[in-house]
């Protein structure tokens, strides 16, 4: 379901606190995060270093760690925080409306 570029991604309860899930839409893939304060964020799915999906990585506070090389990003801003990653991650607007998580990918 879409409206004005917003896409229904998942239910708020599909993601545990301080965790991340994968969301695929058409030929694109994203990672959707729920922080330890139950705030929701979204980024591109693949790490900017090598093509490993960040939804397989561990969320620690506001950081996501790549499952393979332990590079780290701040998923709230996309900023690269630890080698070997040096390029920032694309982030996307997210909203939680009555337990429905929407992301704006265009």
């Amino acid at each position: 379901m879409t409206y004005e570029g917003w896409i229904a991604a998942c239910d708020a309860e599909d993601i545990d606190e301080e965790d991340v899930i994968r969301f695929d839409y058409e030929d694109r893939t994203f990672a959707i995060y729920r922080s330890d304060k139950s705030e929701y964020y979204a980024t591109d799915g693949y790490c900017t270093h090598e093509k490993f999906h960040l939804s397989d990585g561990l969320v620690m506070g506001k950081h996501i760690e790549c499952p393979k090389h332990n590079g780290r990003f701040d998923y709230t801003t996309g900023e690269a925080k630890r080698a070997p990653v040096c390029n920032a991650l694309q982030t996307y607007p997210v909203k939680n409306e009555a337990g429905q998580i929407w992301i704006k990918i265009s």
């Binding site: 490993f52 397989d56 990585g57 561990l58 499952p67 393979k68 332990n70 080698a83 070997p84």
Partner: protein
């Protein structure tokens, strides 16, 4: 002679990270990075996987480019082998006669493939000249050119390098036989249950195994090599790769009288028996504080990286101990395997199912402290292995029943025990 400041011998993962670490940690003086190969520092993990599998013209995955090194004022001396160290005068000499005076020196000389030793056949003919090894980018390119469809490939040694190459060779359509001296593959480092999963997967992909194999002789003719086994069997191959372990490169260190003990012996700061010389990565053995100061040596990517960074700090005067939990991974087909900690120090193992993602094993030491964890399955195993790593670092006593219960989140155990 000019002062070369911080001198690093070895431009692999460790050397490159140490050079970067020195700058990040505030060193503004000279840094000299001496590498044997002609390339700028590159990542080795892809050599057994992507470099052998990808269709296009391969190129090294650079850790840092020559331009970037220049930008950071790191003097990169490549294609040069360090020849000797004069500890009294703080001078490193390289093959072409050039000398470098160091304030502090880091040895990041790595390891070399263990060479296959065969029983002497009397004629000397058993020492085949065409046995390949895999360590450098040049090795990988040479191997890549031989992995053509239908080629018969023998992999001697059922360890990680061998099995990753076996998967790559199958990907290229080769006929692959893994030859292992022991009763099972991956004898070192992973529990038998994981070894069985890996073996079954390889068999499913068409790889043949010859376990408990003793090699009598390898005879090479122009077009093929014949491996004769101690059980009398003889098999013909087009390509032979030996992946039977690595030996630390300690030539320079022993040449200048540094203490050697399964590698260059360093203390918890990664300092050798000379206070101005440090060693890090595959070449060194160090006492691990999380394992009662047990002296270990690791051959792993993350250790190489983290010890490089840590050694940079020690060279600049930090007294912090290196205490990172050991970790490594291997990818074969779409299977991934990760191990954290030291499984051989454990007494009991507890299994936790990760459902479709895979299987996780906790290896517990006395007092139910977590000594290690290993997992096999999809990339998603990384999350739980990372949490297990934190549980190992916490050194807390854990309840095996909770560890085995998939509905109890590992993160909750960490919070409780923190």
């Amino acid at each position: 002679m000019k002062d070369n400041g911080m001198v690093i011998i070895g431009a692999g993962e460790t050397g490159a990270r140490a050079a970067a670490g020195l700058r990040e940690q505030g060193w503004t003086g000279a840094i000299t990075l001496i590498g044997e190969e002609s390339h700028a520092p590159y990542e080795r993990p892809p050599l057994s996987k992507q470099v052998l599998q990808e269709a296009g013209e391969p190129s090294p995955a650079y850790i840092v480019t020559a331009e970037k090194l220049k930008e950071q004022r790191i003097d990169f001396i490549h294609g040069s082998k360090a020849a000797s160290i004069d500890r009294n005068n703080h001078i490193v000499a390289i093959g072409d006669g050039r000398q470098f005076r160091y304030e502090r020196l880091l040895l990041a000389t790595g390891a070399r493939p263990r060479m296959l030793q065969l029983p002497d056949s009397g004629s000397g003919a058993s020492q085949a000249s065409n046995i390949r090894y895999l360590r450098s980018y040049a090795d990988a390119l040479a191997l890549r050119s031989r992995l053509q469809p239908g080629q018969r490939v023998a992999i001697i040694g059922g360890g990680f390098i061998g099995l990753e190459v076996a998967a790559s060779a199958r990907y290229q359509g080769c006929a692959v036989t893994v030859i292992e001296a022991g009763p099972r593959i991956l004898m070192r480092g992973v529990p038998e249950s994981i070894g069985r999963v890996v073996e079954a997967r390889h068999r499913g992909e068409g790889v043949s195994f010859k376990l408990n194999a003793g090699i009598q002789a390898i005879e090479s003719a122009e077009s093929e090599s014949i491996i004769t086994f101690t059980d009398g069997e003889a098999l013909a191959f087009d390509v032979i790769l030996a992946g039977i372990g690595a030996v630390p490169d300690t030539v320079l260190a022993s040449g200048c009288g540094l203490t050697i003990e399964n590698g260059i012996a360093v203390d918890e700061r990664l300092c050798t028996s000379d206070p101005d010389i440090f060693a890090a990565g595959d070449c060194c053995s160090f006492p691990h504080p999380l394992y009662g100061g047990m002296r270990i040596r690791l051959e792993a990517w993350r250790n190489a990286q983290e010890q490089g960074t840590h050694a940079a700090g020690s060279m600049l005067g930090s007294t912090e101990a290196y205490s990172a939990v050991p970790w490594f991974w291997s990818d074969q087909y779409d299977l991934t395997l990760q191990v954290t900690g030291l499984p051989h120090t454990a007494r009991t193992t507890v299994h936790r199912s990760l459902g479709a993602t895979g299987d996780l094993y906790f290896h517990l030491a006395d007092g139910y402290r977590l000594a290690a964890a290993s997992a096999i399955g999809r990339n998603g195993i990384a999350k739980d292995i990372r949490l297990a790593e934190m549980l190992i670092a916490s050194q807390a006593a854990l309840d095996p029943v909770q560890l085995a219960a998939p509905d109890i989140k590992l993160r909750s155990l960490l919070t409780i025990n923190a």
